[in-house]
Symmetry: C2
Subunit: 198 residues, 2 copies
């Protein structure tokens, strides 16, 4: 406290900056070679810090993956909660639903790889805070967009299709184009929101 | 060959019988206590064979889970391909789609536990032969049931909701009743097959 405050605050700002620098370097490596290829050694040498620094900051490779996913998810959350339309507020609900999946698909290579790599425990995969926020967002848009009988469950049905592992499988192994997956998302949204329409 | 044939055939029939007896005993244990509680020791003592016999036959606990899943899936496949309507042939396509998900939900406790326990490698979860047969079956029914723009992709969207891990999470942790999940399945089928209807 007192006279030492400013310097402690300075240390915290430096630590946050260093952490962001490490996360950005790691995202570049994942974008280039995929999450499976990312090692703590590569990250340390890319960011020009000691390997010990990387381990001190993230604990383990799994901890790093989770931190990367949180970092990428925060950017996506800011975009759908506060960003420009049609993903953010200001567009009709169905357009925002369309934009949600399209944004996910555009980010598939990086965030998809991360989500898959971090998704090691099936018991917790539906409980990650970012997933629960995304589902509540979708359920809210579904309520606004049409006579959807069970918006909360329909949000699970929509996000089940946006599962990173499934999309990477459809794109990578099944050879479905991103365009086809985008169309498939829009079709699904339209089907679910038109339920019961005359 | 020759004179030894009948006795070798007899040995094969005995081996198949013993294997089925072990699988049925394992299914009873899973139905009672869940897949996570099933051990090779429990199975050996339930089926009154040595532990070595269980390991010789299934290789590992993961091998046993996969064998159990195959055994349960074969029964389900027979039912949707050859069994009585509405799950089997003879009912309208949309009724068969409804029945498919309801049968999955009824079997959730046993096959869901097995699928989750066997689903350890996310890289192969969409490629299991039984899943691919089920998806082709659903895609065929979707083609018959309405103007579905991309039946192959829609079959993936439907089966993504029937993922055992997701259903167990919704039923167990989220406390959604089986009745609500059944209704959610029927709503999803109706939405997808009514796409583009006037």
């Amino acid at each position: 406290m007192g006279g030492r405050g400013p310097s402690q605050a300075g240390i915290r700002v430096d630590a946050a900056r260093n952490r962001n620098r490490l996360l950005e370097a790691a995202l570049e490596l994942v974008a280039a070679d995929g999450a499976d290829a990312l090692t703590m050694d590569d990250l340390a040498s890319r960011a020009r810090v000691g390997k010990g620094t990387v381990f001190r900051r993230f604990g383990s490779r799994a901890g790093l993956m989770q931190a990367l996913l949180d970092h990428a998810e925060q950017g996506f959350q800011t975009a759908f909660l506060l960003g420009p339309p049609p993903l953010g507020p200001g567009a009709p609900a169905r357009d925002r639903l369309h934009a949600f999946g399209l944004a996910r698909l555009v980010a598939l290579k990086v965030t998809g790889e991360l989500a898959r790599a971090a998704d090691v425990d099936p018991g917790t995969r539906y409980q990650h805070p970012s997933r629960s926020l995304a589902r509540r967002h979708l359920a809210g848009l579904l309520r606004l967009s049409g006579p959807v009988p069970d918006p909360e469950l329909a949000a699970y049905q929509l996000t089940a299709f946006l599962d990173a592992g499934l999309l990477l499988h459809l794109h990578g192994e099944e050879g479905m184009s991103l365009h086809r997956l985008e169309k498939g998302w829009e079709d699904l949204v339209d089907a679910v929101t038109r339920y019961g329409s005359p």
